[in-house]
């Protein structure tokens, strides 16, 4: 973990209001792994005291990229970031998704910009598997081309039926199960809206599958000091709050207490 002064290499608008930000930040880019996040200080955001956490979409030896859309004043200000702008980055933070082992079938399930860490996971994974993306409509389906280029079995669901199967991403999973093509028990890796993650945890439990979920919380320090971003989990026979920024953001779905 370190703080490094990065430089914006590329900032482009994707569809559906999503944006891609690519930052030259060598030390952190080299060290970051799938599921980990960076804590970014939004440039020129007056009166702001907190950094903003972003899951990493992709990284190489010199740069990394993230996806965002406007959800508050921080991300609104970040839309003004221009190529060449200096940007303070803290990272890499949090735990990685465990790597998929040979002989297992990774099943990635993403929603919205939750596809970001899953893309990074797929790119680094020694084992190919299935990627499922669900959203309200086709303008929110991100990274389709990237997943196809990685030669993953890529499946889409939209609630309005504008792309892929009509329905929710959990319907897509059940549809796949119904096709009887599962020759290996899948291990789920998921990131997306809270409601989606909860539905996936229930579904994984029903099928007896292992599921790794990347959780999202309002965050302050990013390093485990302030205890703002906690998640209630089972720990042995006890239930306690643990830190999303430190013990997470990736959790075993069967440990999570849903509130």
């Amino acid at each position: 973990m370190k703080i490094e002064q990065g430089r914006v290499l590329r900032h482009e608008e994707l569809k559906g209001g999503y944006r891609l930000l690519s930052i030259e930040v060598p030390a952190i880019a080299k060290a970051v792994g799938p599921g980990q996040f960076i804590h970014l200080q939004v440039p020129k955001l007056a009166e702001s005291v907190l950094r903003r956490p972003f899951s990493v979409l992709d990284a190489d030896d010199t740069s990394l990229s993230v996806i965002f859309k406007i959800v508050g004043k921080g991300t609104a200000a970040l839309t003004y970031a221009e190529q060449g702008d200096e940007i303070s980055i803290m990272g890499p933070l949090g735990q990685r998704f465990p790597q998929a082992r040979e002989g297992t079938l990774p099943l990635l399930i993403g929603g919205g910009y939750g596809v970001a860490p899953l893309h990074f996971f797929a790119k680094r994974s020694p084992v190919k598997g299935i990627m499922m993306v669900g959203s309200s409509s086709k303008s929110h389906i991100l990274c389709a081309e990237e997943f196809r280029m990685l030669e993953w079995d890529f499946r889409i669901s939209t609630e309005d039926g504008s792309m892929g199967m009509k329905g929710r991403v959990t319907d897509l999973v059940e549809d796949w199960v119904g096709q009887g093509k599962a020759d290996a028990t899948p291990v789920i890796y998921s990131c997306g809206p809270h409601g989606m993650l909860k539905a996936i945890a229930e579904m994984a439990k029903k099928h007896g599958w292992k599921a790794w979920l990347s959780m999202d919380r309002n965050m302050a320090c990013g390093v485990g000091a302030c205890l703002a971003c906690v998640q209630k989990v089972k720990k042995g026979d006890k239930i306690e709050y643990v830190r999303v920024c430190k013990e997470g953001p990736v959790f075993d779905a069967s440990d999570i207490i849903w509130e």
Binding site: S48, L50, V223, C229
Partner: protein, 314 residues
């Protein structure tokens, strides 16, 4: 002037190499920031609030950002005094920096018991007695806003330990001087202020509080002028050292507190923005002394030059 100015300070029995500590609740228990800054450079480390038994804390959301600050309601989640000592004290003893443990309880007896248990722990230099947390139902601010309760809890902690004790005062009182005086009369070695200011943030769309706990505590630059004023008043009321905090982000903002009468200061929320803020505050204070030809920090403590118009109206 030849040589570096003397910025060492003494708070009770605690010898600090410089007047800048990290504020309780913003620095965890030390290891969280050890990879980012050199803990040996700090004047003191003040760890997150510790109670007799482990405490779960509040539901989430626990934090929301506002203009120039944050409102938090963590609810004093902690591993309890035994858990703290077992997990963190060995690590903390590895640094040449005094450790001050922030303590709290739900009853006077609990405060005294935590103080007693920490008294013989090697490496604990002092106790900051939290009688001002706005985010828990029992204890905290209930003690710090009632003069009788303040007196009771500080007296009990004083009896329970020979360590340096530093009650942390609440800003949510009418007369801060009265509470500072009570702390002094009950045998405190110093006082610290201010704790976060009780606040409410509303999500207008949902017509609900932004925090699960409804009420939270405001910190950050937004509270600095309030904090400087209260430190000035408190320092005017007592002889014991005052530790000032509330929105410090730079050497300049720390100097406001020192000029107002603080012998030492603490950096809190600014650590979240940039963990090295505390180091630049130390450097900034030193640079100010050099620029002004001053030999020691003591020369500017309480040096506020008031207008000739007479005593200000508090």
């Amino acid at each position: 002037m030849i040589g570096k100015p003397d910025i060492a300070v003494k708070i009770g029995a605690i010898e600090m190499k410089n007047p800048v500590m990290v504020a309780s609740g913003t620095f965890g228990y030390g290891p969280e920031y050890a990879g980012l800054i050199d803990l040996n450079r700090l004047g003191a480390i003040v760890v997150k609030g510790i109670s007799l038994e482990p405490h779960e804390g509040n539901p989430t959301p626990r934090i929301v950002e506002v203009a120039s600050g944050i409102v938090n309601a963590i609810g004093l989640q902690n591993p309890g005094v035994a858990g703290f000592v077992d997990t963190y004290m060995k690590f903390l003893r590895g640094f040449d920096t005094p450790v001050i443990v922030n303590i709290w309880g739900r009853t006077v007896e609990e405060y005294a018991e935590v103080a007693k248990r920490l008294s013989d722990v090697e490496g604990v230099a002092g106790l900051e007695v939290n009688i001002s947390c706005p985010n828990i139902k029992e204890g905290g601010i209930a003690f710090g806003t009632d003069p009788k309760m303040t007196e009771e809890v500080i007296t009990a902690v004083r009896k329970a330990t020979d360590l340096t004790i530093i009650p942390k005062l609440s800003a949510a009182v009418t007369d801060i001087g009265q509470f500072a005086k009570i702390a002094e009369n009950c045998g405190s070695d110093a006082i610290s202020l201010i704790n976060s200011l009780p606040s409410l943030v509303i999500d207008v769309g949902k017509r609900k509080p932004a925090l699960a706990n409804t009420i939270g505590g405001l910190t950050g630059p937004a509270i600095r002028p309030v904090a400087v004023k209260l430190v000035w008043q408190a320092a005017s009321a007592v002889e014991i050292p005052v530790i000032g905090m509330g929105g410090i982000t730079s050497g300049g903002s720390a100097l406001e507190f020192i000029i107002a009468g603080a012998s030492a200061v603490a950096v809190g929320t600014a650590t979240f923005t940039d963990p090295s803020t505390v180091l630049s505050v130390i450097d900034g204070i030193e640079a100010y002394l050099i620029e002004n030809g001053l030999g020691s920090i003591g020369e500017i403590v309480g040096s506020l030059d008031l207008p000739a118009a007479g005593t200000p109206n508090f």
